[in-house]
């Protein structure tokens, strides 16, 4: 008995324990709150009360929030912004100091941004770069660029040719620039997207000029062997990896866990370009206006889509015509008979790939959101600020659709009128000259 001193002995209060066990006891709550923190069982073990975990939800059912969604929301509301700080995790740097070799990736940059295809090819370029030491992945892009995340996409060096002569349809100028890069850097590989956005065309021109036999429709590439599709995608061709490759989509995974320098790389002035400028055999006359309603919905570039919030349908059609947009609709608008079935966007309609999707009066059912999953920019006009479409949108306008559509139509008409005036003035000038 002398081993036990009174201080070391765990003192138990059987009455309090009995009250804590009895939830109907009038003192139950006070006893529990007094014992919060650490509770010891009869043998001195730390006990956790499962009844104390969680909170009572809005309909009286107990909820346990293991993902900590609500606590972070609460913290944000309290002005602490804990979750946003936690999100800005800085990725590790991938630095190439003095590159011994280069891999050139010529991006499509549809709409001035890297496409998913471009990012996959940058990922493949890094796979090829690991096979040798100190190889830098260089992105070559033409024209205007709106991309802000070159560093996260895996661009070690950047050659951005922003001159006016590279805009639009300019294969000769672009080819001259690529030739200049070839003589200046002699890259290990030239990687192009095998796409209809001009990647395959430019790659074929470069291959013909350099006299290399390229791999087309390649989808599995390493330093020695390449697997390409051939004969209208019915056979696989296994061959040695050439210097010029045109790659299919999903040929590799995009870079997502490192940060890159994206340092600009200077190229010498283009002598060949200036020489060829005078004698260009192809002249770009610009884009032709096409009938937007004749473009299939699945491949339309700009969609004006209508939902339950539209009351004035004549105004909606007029707005679509003025903006030159292809018309789409949500399921409600189609079911109510305002729009034809082939215009329906969403799970049971068409999955669209538009670059800009303007949703008017659509709150965003999940089936509809699936259908617009591949759209780049979503603009929402809605009266409900809490709907899913507003959460998804890059620009959301909380207003009644009638007023905004009327203003938009007015703006578009004014824009077209001013454009016609300037073009007619230019025509007069050139006639006089």
């Amino acid at each position: 008995m002398s081993d036990f001193s009174l201080e070391e002995m765990l003192r138990r209060d059987p009455r309090n324990e009995w009250i804590a066990r009895n939830r109907l006891h009038p003192l139950h709550d006070t006893v529990l709150s007094a014992e919060q923190g650490e509770r010891r069982g009869p043998s001195g073990l730390l006990r956790k009360d499962p009844h104390l975990v969680g909170f009572i939800g809005p309909n009286g059912i107990k909820r346990i929030d293991r993902a900590d969604v609500f606590s972070s929301v609460g913290a944000e509301l309290a002005g602490k912004k804990r979750s946003t700080e936690a999100k800005a995790v800085s990725l590790p740097w991938h630095i190439v100091e003095n590159p011994a070799g280069y891999i050139m990736v010529v991006a499509d940059m549809v709409g001035g941004r890297l496409t998913r295809h471009d990012k996959d090819i940058l990922g493949l370029a890094h796979q090829l770069a690991t096979e040798k030491a100190a190889v830098a992945v260089v992105l070559v892009c033409f024209g205007e660029s709106k991309e802000t995340q070159f560093d996260l996409a895996g661009v070690d060096r950047l050659i951005h040719l922003a001159g006016q002569e590279f805009n639009g349809f300019a294969p000769e100028a672009r080819l001259a620039a690529l030739e200049q890069i070839e003589t200046q850097f002699y890259p290990d590989y030239w990687l192009f997207p095998d796409s209809v956005n001009g990647g395959a065309d430019l790659a074929s021109r470069l291959a013909a000029r350099l006299g290399e036999r390229p791999a087309t429709q390649a989808w599995q590439v390493n330093g020695t062997q390449t697997l390409c599709r051939g004969a209208s995608s019915s056979v696989d061709i296994r061959r040695a990896t050439p210097r010029i490759l045109m790659l299919l989509e999903e040929c590799a995974d995009a870079i997502d866990s490192t940060r890159h320098q994206a340092l600009p790389l200077q190229i010498k002035p283009l002598a060949a370009l200036k020489k060829s400028n005078g004698s260009s055999k192809m002249l770009d006359r610009g884009m032709i206006d096409v009938d937007a309603s004749a473009v299939p919905l699945a491949e339309a570039e700009f969609i004006l889509s209508a939902g339950n919030g539209i009351h004035n349908w004549n105004q909606f059609h007029a707005a679509a015509a003025a903006l030159g947009a292809t018309e789409g609709a949500s399921r409600v608008a189609v079911d109510d008979g305002f729009m034809p079935r082939e215009r329906q966007v969403g799970a049971s309609g068409t999955w669209v790939t538009a670059r800009v999707y303007l949703a008017v009066g659509i709150s965003g059912a999940i089936q509809h959101m699936q259908g617009i999953g591949q759209c780049d920019k979503v603009v929402a006009i809605n009266t409900d600020a809490g709907c899913d479409m507003v959460k998804r949108a890059d620009l959301a306008v909380i207003a009644d659709s009638d007023a905004v559509l009327a203003e938009l139509t007015k703006l578009a008409n004014a824009f077209m009128a001013s454009k016609q005036q300037t073009s007619s003035k230019q025509g007069e000038k050139s006639d006089a000259a």
Partner: protein
């Protein structure tokens, strides 16, 4: 359209996508159709390969009185023999498909011809609008149904996109009666192609959505959370004019309004 230009359509043996049988190639058929609408029966239709191939009669059945065949084995490279033909015979416009349906189908042949001849090449043509004073106005088919107008000087090579008018039906009788002018081709074997290993196409693996979450709770969140754009701008208090202007500026910035 002046009839005094020389148009050559290059045709190849196609492959039916389901059965794999030989057929009239889709884009080459459109190239012949475009040539026929431009110059009618003055069109030269040129094939490098086996003149006994019955598929050539399908091209002839589109209303051609004759076909020119450069006789060579199917394993041989067509570029050199076509180059020789185009250098010898006066030609203004060469029409081809974008990609062949057999062989490597790299789509490089028109580019190699254009490079060797020093002619311009216009890719993915939907329509040749007019030919005047040694210049042609062509419409290029861009993705998303867009069209671009390009002026190109003769002579040039054009690859014909699927957006061009569909090839007319082929008639069996006239096709069988058409005359073939057979010329001797080269026999330069395509050595590099012989070295490649060719196997039936394997289905490509589908890309899996890999979630790099550390904890089970994070994976649960990734699987159940709705995709939220985040960082979107919301306009509530402004007047309708300002709201419409903001939308219009975005449309202009994205260049969907031209």
């Amino acid at each position: 359209m002046p009839p005094n230009i020389n148009v050559v359509s290059l045709v190849s043996i196609g492959r039916h996508p389901q059965s794999g049988r030989a057929r009239r190639a889709e884009q080459d058929g459109r190239a012949v159709e475009l040539g026929l609408t431009m110059v009618g029966e003055a069109l030269t239709v040129l094939h490098a390969g086996n003149p006994q191939n019955p598929v050539l009669r399908q091209y002839a059945g589109m209303g051609l009185p004759s076909l020119t065949v450069l006789d060579q084995a199917s394993s041989c490279d067509a570029v050199s023999v076509l180059l020789r033909y185009l250098r010898k015979n006066p030609t203004d416009i060469v029409l081809t498909g974008v990609r062949a349906e057999r062989g490597e189908s790299s789509g490089m042949l028109p580019y190699l011809l254009a490079e060797q001849l020093g002619w311009p090449l216009v890719p993915k043509v939907a329509e040749i609008v007019s030919v005047q004073d040694g210049k042609a106005d062509v419409l290029l088919a861009l993705p998303r149904g867009q069209r671009r107008s390009v002026q190109v000087s003769l002579p040039f090579i054009a690859t014909i996109d699927n957006a061009a008018p569909e090839a007319r039906q082929s008639a069996f009788g006239p096709g069988s009666r058409a005359l073939f002018s057979i010329q001797k081709g080269d026999n330069l074997a395509d050595d590099a192609f012989m070295e490649w290993k060719i196997s039936p196409a394997k289905p490509r693996p589908k890309r899996l959505k890999v979630v790099k979450a550390k904890t089970a709770a994070d994976r649960m969140k990734a699987a159940t959370a709705k995709p939220v754009g985040g960082g979107g701008k919301i306009m509530k208090q402004e007047s309708p004019e300002e709201k419409a202007q903001a939308i219009f500026d975005l449309l202009l910035e994205e260049k969907v309004i031209r």
